[in-house]
């Protein structure tokens, strides 16, 4: 951070303030974007450490390292921190940095709110992480916090968990409003909606999803709060409520949420693949419509998480077919990416490697999703490691690889220096191998019947679990290499040109590298 500050310090009139107040009081979209990204990576390491505890315990059958109570806290906190602390803030950080640069705007539309929405996040996660040290321990009911496990049987710290969710919800909503206002009001003259870069499009749609579902999440945790502390019976059968209602309301939020975590990655990949294929993105308009279709369908499929809970046959059929329908727009996107690469002049720098791995591995995750969507088959897969394999295949090589690809793609623009390509490729290959070793065997474990969220397992699962743990340690350790690469790139390295990738297109490459503290004070003309 200090190196970034130092680069601009000589520019006294327009440069950033000095010292800590620069970061506390900044309204600059680049500063706030950097803070989001640093925060996200910190949370990624914290959530990753918890994953390491989980995999260490599962290295062998039996209880070796942690007690089941603590193991449950680890799975819960790992999920919550990765979803709300690592993936979502990373995309908000990318949006802060890149959306104004891509649409030719001087800053976000609501810069003061931007500052506030960032600084709420450390507060929320301080509260959430502090529950680990409270009496009774941290939340231990899984990141989906099903009632009555989280209401009647939850630990005393559940109330802190609820407030943390409220605060991060407010933060996400403000971030989303900011993106919508920026995209709708601050585009450079001549940039019509259908000329917007894909990353801006995907983020606009993501922002609408956030506005639609984060309040529902706030609603469901508020109901929990009232059940726990004020004697209501929303989810309590003894008082006339229904625990199944919780799952409906939660998954009404939860399914759009998984698209919130993947759509911005779709957008970034739609810049990276054309840049390194030296071709225009194939089927721009169909890409935009596909993202819109995925977002709309995401509201109609929530009960596919609940087939085993008891859904009437008509409902199972509806939710099964609606879910399978999502494969159509997703397929459009995958085929368009492949068609973009087809007969292109491909080079394989780190962003492109991550992008290609994204396309292949996300598709594998999508296919296991189709298997899970088939209602009669889901009864076998439900709550097994097959589900764990599925969502890690869409989130790790989907969301996380998408973020890595974006980081390498735009690091030269952010820092003014090229990252170390050899180290970055090493980071890619170790991540790729580690990730597949960690998560592929989980498919087999799940099909063989190993349930998720257990600290101990039957002996026949031992070999695959050991392989999985080795892969997880490898993937986890590799991420420290990413930290090294980024620090090295911030500190120095080969100077980056304004457009370091010869196939890249977009307004962000028209400003110098590193991007000056203030850009596009006069809007560029888009033809």
């Amino acid at each position: 951070m200090s190196a970034v500050a130092g680069t601009h310090a000589q520019d006294h009139h327009h440069g950033p303030a000095r010292g800590i107040s620069r970061w506390l009081l900044t309204t600059n979209h680049k500063d706030i974007g950097s803070m989001y990204l640093i925060f996200s990576f910190t949370m990624f390491l914290l959530g990753g450490t918890m994953a390491m505890v989980i995999r260490a315990e599962l290295f062998q059958p039996g209880l070796q390292i942690v007690q089941p109570e603590f193991f449950n806290q680890m799975t819960t906190m790992h999920g919550l921190i990765m979803v709300f602390g690592a993936v979502m803030p990373a995309f908000v950080g990318l949006a802060n940095w890149m959306v104004p640069l891509m649409i030719g705007a001087p800053d976000m539309a609501l810069p003061r709110m931007n500052n506030w929405s960032f600084w709420l996040l450390p507060c929320a996660f301080l509260i959430l992480v502090s529950t680990l040290f409270m009496e009774g321990g941290a939340p231990n009911f899984g990141w989906t916090f099903y009632a009555p496990l989280s209401t009647t049987y939850g630990p005393p710290s559940t109330t802190f968990f609820i407030f943390a969710i409220h605060i991060m919800g407010v933060s996400s909503i403000m971030g989303a409003i900011n993106v919508i206002a920026t995209v709708l009001n601050m585009r450079a003259p001549g940039m019509t909606l259908m000329k917007m870069p894909m990353f801006v499009w995907t983020w606009l749609i993501t922002a609408f999803l956030l506005i639609a579902v984060m309040p529902v999440l706030a609603g469901v945790v508020t109901m929990m709060l009232m059940d726990i502390n004020f004697g209501t019976s929303f989810f309590n059968a003894a008082g006339g409520g229904d625990p199944v209602l919780f799952q409906h309301v939660f998954w009404f939020f939860g399914h759009p949420e998984v698209y919130i975590m993947i759509l911005p990655a779709f957008g970034a990949i739609s810049h990276i693949i054309p840049a390194f294929s030296r071709k225009k993105l194939f089927g721009y308009a169909s890409m935009v419509y596909a993202v819109g279709a995925i977002a709309l369908l995401s509201f109609l499929v929530w009960a596919h998480h609940m087939f085993t809970v008891g859904v009437p046959v008509a409902g199972q059929l509806f939710f099964m077919y609606a879910t399978l329908l999502i494969a159509v727009p997703t397929g459009v996107k995958v085929f368009n990416w492949v068609a973009t690469m087809f007969r292109g002049s491909l080079t394989f720098e780190a962003p492109m490697l991550f992008a290609i791995a994204f396309v292949i591995l996300f598709t594998i995750g999508g296919f296991s999703g189709l298997m899970l969507a088939i209602a009669p088959a889901d009864f076998q897969y439900h709550d097994t490691y097959f589900v764990v394999a599925h969502f890690h295949y869409v989130l790790v090589p989907g969301a996380i690889f998408g973020i890595f690809a974006s980081a390498y793609f735009w690091l030269p623009k952010w820092t003014g220096n090229m990252y170390d390509e050899t180290l970055a490729k090493t980071h890619f290959w170790l991540s790729f191998v580690g990730m597949n070793l960690a998560f592929f065997p989980m498919h087999f474990l799940g099909l063989a019947g190993m349930p998720r969220r257990i600290p101990d397992y039957a002996l026949q699962f031992a070999d695959f679990n050991m392989v999985s743990s080795v892969g997880a340690f490898m993937f986890g350790a590799t991420q420290l290499l990413f930290l090294l690469i980024v620090v090295k790139c911030v500190k120095g390295g080969e100077k980056a040109a304004a457009k370091p990738w010869d196939g890249a297109e977009g307004l962000e490459w028209t400003v110098p590298s590193p991007a000056p503290y203030h850009t596009f004070s006069t809007p560029p003309e888009v033809k």
Binding site: A109, L110, T152, I173, A176, I177, I180, A181, L184, N185, M186, I211, A212, V213, M214, P215, V216, A218, G219, V220, M223, G231, S233, F234, A237, A238, G239, G240, G241, D242, V244, L245, H248, V249, F252, G310, V311, P312, G315
Partner: protein
């Protein structure tokens, strides 16, 4: 600001409008989350899909029982968490004809040394039959107070509808009995009305 651009709205005014719409959507979706609670109840009431049987049945017409069909109705009784009462059906199952009113009893006993109030919550399986199972009298319509050591037989009067789909030959009615605390607190309980509504 107005002199900058005469025709187009200023960025500030556009931002205010966007924020207004977004905040309205956020408030609306928060309300929608809560609206899902009554919507869910109404939806389940109409379709009967979660096995929640409806409240007191008042038949408008008396039709003769359909003696050609026999439906086996089974009864289950279980206790909610930390409920110390003895609770079981007197008859495990009865065979009835659709249209005829049948009375069965459930036995409840409070073995503790303090006065308590219980509340039974019903669930019917298969849920497809829920709409065709009518209760004209049920102990589950009200809370049941039992003083220390007391026992009672609690009646249930039900009619299986003649329109019950022909492939259903067996219905299982399950009651879960929940501890509602001591008599005084139970009377003032706000949840009481909700329970009576749902049956």
């Amino acid at each position: 600001m107005a002199e900058q651009q005469a025709n187009k709205p200023t960025p500030q005014r556009s931002n205010t409008r966007v924020i207004g719409w977004c905040v309205a959507s956020v408030v609306g979706m928060f309300a929608f989350g809560f609206a899902m609670v009554p919507l869910y109840d109404v939806f389940c009431d109409i379709t009967g899909i979660n096995g929640k049987t409806s409240g007191r049945y008042e038949s408008t017409e008396r039709t003769a029982a359909d003696m050609t069909r026999t439906i086996k109705v089974q009864f289950l009784a279980q206790n909610g968490p930390d409920m110390p009462w003895v609770f079981r059906p007197v008859e495990r199952s009865v065979e009835v004809h659709p249209g005829e009113a049948t009375t069965v009893n459930f036995y409840a006993e409070n073995p503790t040394d303090k006065d308590m109030v219980g509340q039974a919550v019903p669930s019917l399986s298969p849920s497809e039959g829920t709409l065709y199972f009518h209760k004209t009298e049920c102990f589950c319509f009200n809370q049941q107070p039992l003083s220390a050591g007391e026992n009672t037989h609690m009646p249930l009067v039900f009619i299986v509808d003649q329109d019950l789909p022909s492939h259903i030959t067996k219905l299982t009615l399950s009651y879960t009995l929940y501890d509602q605390g001591e008599p005084q607190t139970a009377v003032t309980s706000t949840t009481n009305t909700t329970i009576t509504d749902n049956g």
